[in-house]
């Protein structure tokens, strides 16, 4: 078990600009950190740098107080689960599991015993003689996990390990991985593009965008107080709705609170509202009106997509009722807080800036 520290980690490919900018992160012993972001945000590169498969351009990678920048992957004592599992196709499951131990010169008896124990842990005892191509996707996934677990590494790395599985298996495996990680108490870094996976598995979440860390925190903290518009839009499903207003034409339904500074609020504001905080209502009661474009029934609730004329925006509403609204119908929308306010650079409004000609501010 180990503490992992990333200090101003940077990746630059020769002849191009930086793909990762000064990543700072510290991971506690036994903690599960999930790095989430859209494809191309650099999350996989980050993971591969930690693994030692990509060189570190600048900055330090520290495991248990020791800088491991120049160490080979095997010397770092990490284990990695790959997206395509990367099982050795010509080896049996037993040999796949045993390979890393063999390379370390572990005695045969101990290898057999540890393979046995690992197979039992992952419920793959009956598959030991099979070749990877004779296994189903979920079984391969387990073998890949086993190959990582068997060595008792200091750090576990996961590179989108569930994206090759079908939906129901994915839900099951993510619970199993999480349970296993907690049971073995292994420091883990888990990369995914799936926000549900990220939310459900993480002790702490790292949201990345364009080579930078946008925000780090517990899943609920990020959900409740996203630091940037990007995080707000990325965390939560269905995604948060945004309406843009000029500060001079802020609607009345946005609650006012006393301003904290004298600094005036300028330019445009993005107001973020989660789908569960909008209600369908009559035209008279609504804060705003719109035309229903699409209704997606999910069973316990429905997602109603409403086109707002004046803003050229489409809002998604979580509708709890059993009766489905009709497509094409004009409806009123009622907004309830909390509202998330972001300035035109996408940063959350942290201090309560003063609205022009008033003593008021917006709550955020």
């Amino acid at each position: 078990m180990a503490r992992l520290e990333l200090r101003r980690l940077r990746k630059r490919y020769s002849g191009s600009t930086d793909v990762l900018h000064d990543i700072d992160l510290s991971i506690d012993d036994g903690e599960m950190i999930v790095v989430v972001g859209p494809s191309g945000c650099g999350k996989s590169t980050l993971l591969r740098m930690v693994a030692g498969l990509e060189a570190i351009s600048s900055g330090e990678l520290v495991i248990d107080g020791e800088c491991v920048n120049d160490q080979e992957p095997a010397e770092r004592d990490i284990a990695m689960v790959f997206q395509n599992y990367a099982l050795y196709p010509h080896m049996s499951v037993f040999d796949n599991l045993a390979y890393s131990l063999k390379n370390r010169g572990t005695p045969k008896a101990e290898i057999a015993q540890r393979v046995e124990a690992t197979a039992q842990l992952l419920d793959i005892g009956a598959l030991l003689e099979r070749k990877p191509r004779q296994l189903s996707g979920g079984q391969r996934q387990r073998v890949a996990m086993g190959r990582a677990v068997i060595r008792k590494p200091r750090v576990f790395l996961f590179d989108e390990p569930l994206s090759n599985l079908d939906a129901s298996l994915r839900v099951q495996m993510r619970q199993e991985i999480r349970a296993l990680q907690q049971r073995l108490n292994i420091t883990s870094l888990y990369v995914t593009h799936d926000q549900t996976e990220a939310m459900t598995m993480a002790d702490r979440l790292v949201v990345m965008n364009a080579g930078r860390v946008e925000q780090v925190g517990t899943p609920m903290a990020l959900f409740r107080k996203p630091a940037t518009r990007f995080v707000a839009g990325f965390i939560g499903s269905p995604a948060m709705n945004f309406l843009t207003f000029s500060v001079n034409t802020l609607p009345d339904w946005l609650p006012r609170v006393p301003a904290e500074t004298n600094e005036p609020l300028k330019g445009e504001l993005s107001v973020g509202i989660r789908p569960e905080h909008i209600a369908l209502t009559t035209l008279e009661d609504g804060h705003i009106e719109g035309c229903i474009e699409l209704v997606e029934p999910l069973g316990s609730e429905s997602l109603v997509h409403v086109r707002i004329g004046g803003h050229d925006a489409r809002l998604v509403v979580r509708h709890g009722g059993m009766e489905l609204p009709e497509v094409g119908q004009v409806t009123g929308l009622n907004f309830q807080g909390p509202f998330h306010l972001f300035d035109r650079h996408g940063q959350r409004l942290s201090t309560r800036l003063r609205l022009a000609d008033t003593n008021c501010s917006m709550e955020s």
């Binding site: 992957p73 095997a74 997206q83 050795y88 196709p89 890393s100 390379n103 190959r147």
Partner: protein
């Protein structure tokens, strides 16, 4: 995808049978001719059935020094076998190592190396035979087994094929091996070689036949009978002072020359086809 239409089957089989007959005809004629008495082959018509000599000519070839060459056929076959094995194994070893370096290592001028190797594909033996002869002569290897094999021991084709195969392997395989503590050498031995088995088998067959059929280089570089090969001897056998080539011996020698490649193909057929067809690894 397969079509199931009876007429198409008949047509396909007809074409296949005609093709097989065309390919078989020279071989059958050679076998038939090799069993004729010397006189029977000079009557002007080619006999279409076995002659009276049986295996007599074969025994003659194998036991007595061959006319125009000076060593018995078994010695020629042994030389050919050594040459073909040397060339085939050498080519495989060099090609797989070169391809390994080209695909899995990043070093300066890597692409340049690849293109240099690739360009040699365009230069057949005939083009470079004079400088090659010079080099081998300077090394003092003329008329020796190393001299027979060494100039033919590297293969751009095999390097290229191995490179293509290695490039189809997911890069994660090497990364997983690295994480598992396998160095470059271990990765090569434990993972790359076993995965290349069928390709190696297929290329071995092709390269063995290529080596076995070498004609020009042994002819130029091997002057003594001790290092003569079967294919070389075929030409010499038919040179005759009195104007009547001993066709009965020449055809028998042809059949003998045919046997080892046939044995190799029959033994490795399954792997050979797998290596050329198999994409699922």
């Amino acid at each position: 995808m397969r079509y199931h239409r009876p007429n198409l089957d008949v047509l396909a089989h007809t074409i296949l049978i005609i093709g097989a007959l065309i390919f078989m005809l020279p071989v059958v004629l050679a076998v038939l001719a090799s069993t004729q008495t010397p006189g029977a082959l000079f009557s002007g018509t080619l006999p279409l059935w076995f002659g009276g000599s049986g295996l007599e000519h074969y025994l003659t070839l194998l036991s007595e020094p061959v006319r125009g060459v000076g060593v018995p056929a078994w010695q020629l076959m042994l030389n050919s076998l050594l040459m073909a094995l040397g060339i085939a194994i050498g080519k495989l070893v060099f090609a797989i190592l070169a391809a390994y370096a080209l695909v899995f290592f990043r070093f300066p001028f890597r692409r340049c190396c690849f293109w240099l190797i690739f360009v040699t594909l365009m230069l057949p033996i005939e083009v470079r035979i004079v400088p090659t002869y010079g080099v081998v002569a300077d090394l003092g290897l003329l008329d020796s087994y190393p001299g027979l094999v060494l100039p033919l021991i590297a293969s751009a084709t095999a390097t290229f094929l191995f490179r293509q195969f290695f490039m189809t392997l997911p890069p994660e395989l090497m990364e997983a091996a690295r994480v598992d503590g396998a160095g470059p050498w271990r990765f090569f031995i434990d993972i790359l070689l076993p995965l290349s088995r069928t390709n190696i088998a297929a290329l071995f067959v092709i390269m063995f036949i290529y080596g076995w059929n070498q004609y020009l280089w042994p002819l130029v570089a091997m002057s003594s009978a001790d290092h003569a090969t079967v294919v070389m001897s075929l030409k010499r056998l038919t040179i005759s002072m009195d104007g009547t080539p001993p066709w009965h011996l020449a055809t028998a020698m042809t059949v003998l020359a045919l046997l080892p490649p046939v044995v190799v193909i029959v033994l490795m057929q399954r792997w050979f086809i797998k290596g050329l067809v198999d994409t699922e690894k």
